[in-house]
């Protein structure tokens, strides 16, 4: 079974193996130029991926705001969906006992805030990874 799972994993690769796999090969040298590109961001660099806050996705799409967005939709589709969406949105909104969770973290720590739901993992990310 293990062997079969390993075989499936090995086969399930994208159409080619890029840098990720190649770097494992001792004979393939990473050029200094590429190494520099892959270096972590320095504090002074303009990094558009620096985490400012970890946000709980479960609360981020606020049901009331979503309802408002529905109201602005094209008339035809709004008529079709609004009643259902608003009802569901109201229910979802009532369920929310706290406002959207957003906790600041240090810029590069990437830490998950204590009051947010756990970050997706192999085990619980809905089977995503």
């Amino acid at each position: 079974m293990k062997r079969k799972a390993a075989r499936i994993r090995a086969l399930q690769r994208p159409c080619f193996v890029t840098a990720a796999g190649l770097l494992a090969l001792a004979c393939v040298k990473v050029t200094p130029e590429l190494k520099a590109e892959l270096a972590p961001a320095t504090p002074t660099e303009h990094n558009l991926f620096r985490v400012r806050q970890e946000v709980d996705p479960h609360f981020f799409v606020n049901a009331a705001r979503f309802r408002s967005a529905v109201a602005t939709l094209d008339a035809g589709i709004a008529t079709l969906d609004a009643a259902i969406v608003v009802d569901a949105a109201d229910a979802a909104f009532r369920d929310q006992s706290s406002p959207p969770s957003a906790t600041a973290v240090s810029e590069d720590s990437g830490a998950t805030p204590a009051d947010a739901s756990p970050a997706p993992t192999t085990a619980d990310a809905g089977g995503l990874r």
Binding site: C15, F16, A41, L48, H58, I77, Q96, G126
Partner: protein, 353 residues
Amino acid sequence: LKSLLLRALGLAACVVTVGCSFSTRQTSHFYDVPERVPARQLPPTIDFEGMPLRSGQIVLSESPYSTSFMFSLIPAEYHYFTHAAILVIDRGEPWVYEMTGEISSFPLYERPLDNINGKVLRRRLMDYAGPNLYVEIVEPPPGTNAERIAEYAREVYRRDVPFDPYFRFDDHRSLYCTEFVELALRSGGAAPNSLGPASQQRSLAVAKRWLGVPMDEALPAAYFYDSRRTVAALGQFPYRAAAAAYFEAKREIYWRLQQPDQRLGFIFRLDTTNIELRPEIERFAFNAARLFDRIEPKPAWGDPRIRAEVRRYADATFGPGPAAPSDQAPGAAVLSAAPVPYAYLPPRVSTAR
């Protein structure tokens, strides 16, 4: 000693290819798709797990590996999906024929991609789909001969045509995944796609130069995609809009990285011998897939609110991003006129090649 070396290399290849953690769970969700395509009326069709399948359909997929993030960055525009293959019904059972490569054990060459070997693999549909995050099966373009498409796939498989790790579309003695699908479609009479432009982002250019892949052109898997022709969608996300949100999160990452002052090191990290997705980037993408967990009904595939919410989520997480490109949210037409089918990307037609 040779055995040990082989084992060590195999292990290394496995570890680095897997990259970030992922689930080995089999596909557990089949999503409803609008029945716009009269697939059930097109013979010969089989009903497989409720999906109307037939030879010659195109299989588009998204893997959970960090390499799929790398692939997404290469074209000049962002696209859903990073792999394409052909569905063939053999003896009543659906099989996926895909051109794919993997690291060879020996010999080891200095040029990185010289170490990649591959050919067409033939696997049962669910064996193929299981480990993927998301898979769609779409009809080939109207007017194509699906049986000829399938026959081309079988022929390449029989001839053991090698994988082309250098992505040279002008040399068909070896093929890469989308080149294989493109030629299969052409053999079925489809109008040819032209290659699209590649991103010219500075940091990406360094990586491409190192790999030795084409700097200026790409043939993204999404060129074969038109959601009007989707006959089946399956994957590991709990609902289909979650898959869309995941793709939109990748779009945010794509667009931010395309800015000239951004570096690959902001989203990937070099961990001794591996290039992995940075954990905060991975967390962002999978958190984005959960944005609509508490919203009912779920937004439909192509609903522009998915992109809008993911963008807002990215801004909250990373700070405001650059101004969005002028592209209109795919699927905007779906909300303004429900009966109008949503086309994510019209095929590019050219007679240049």
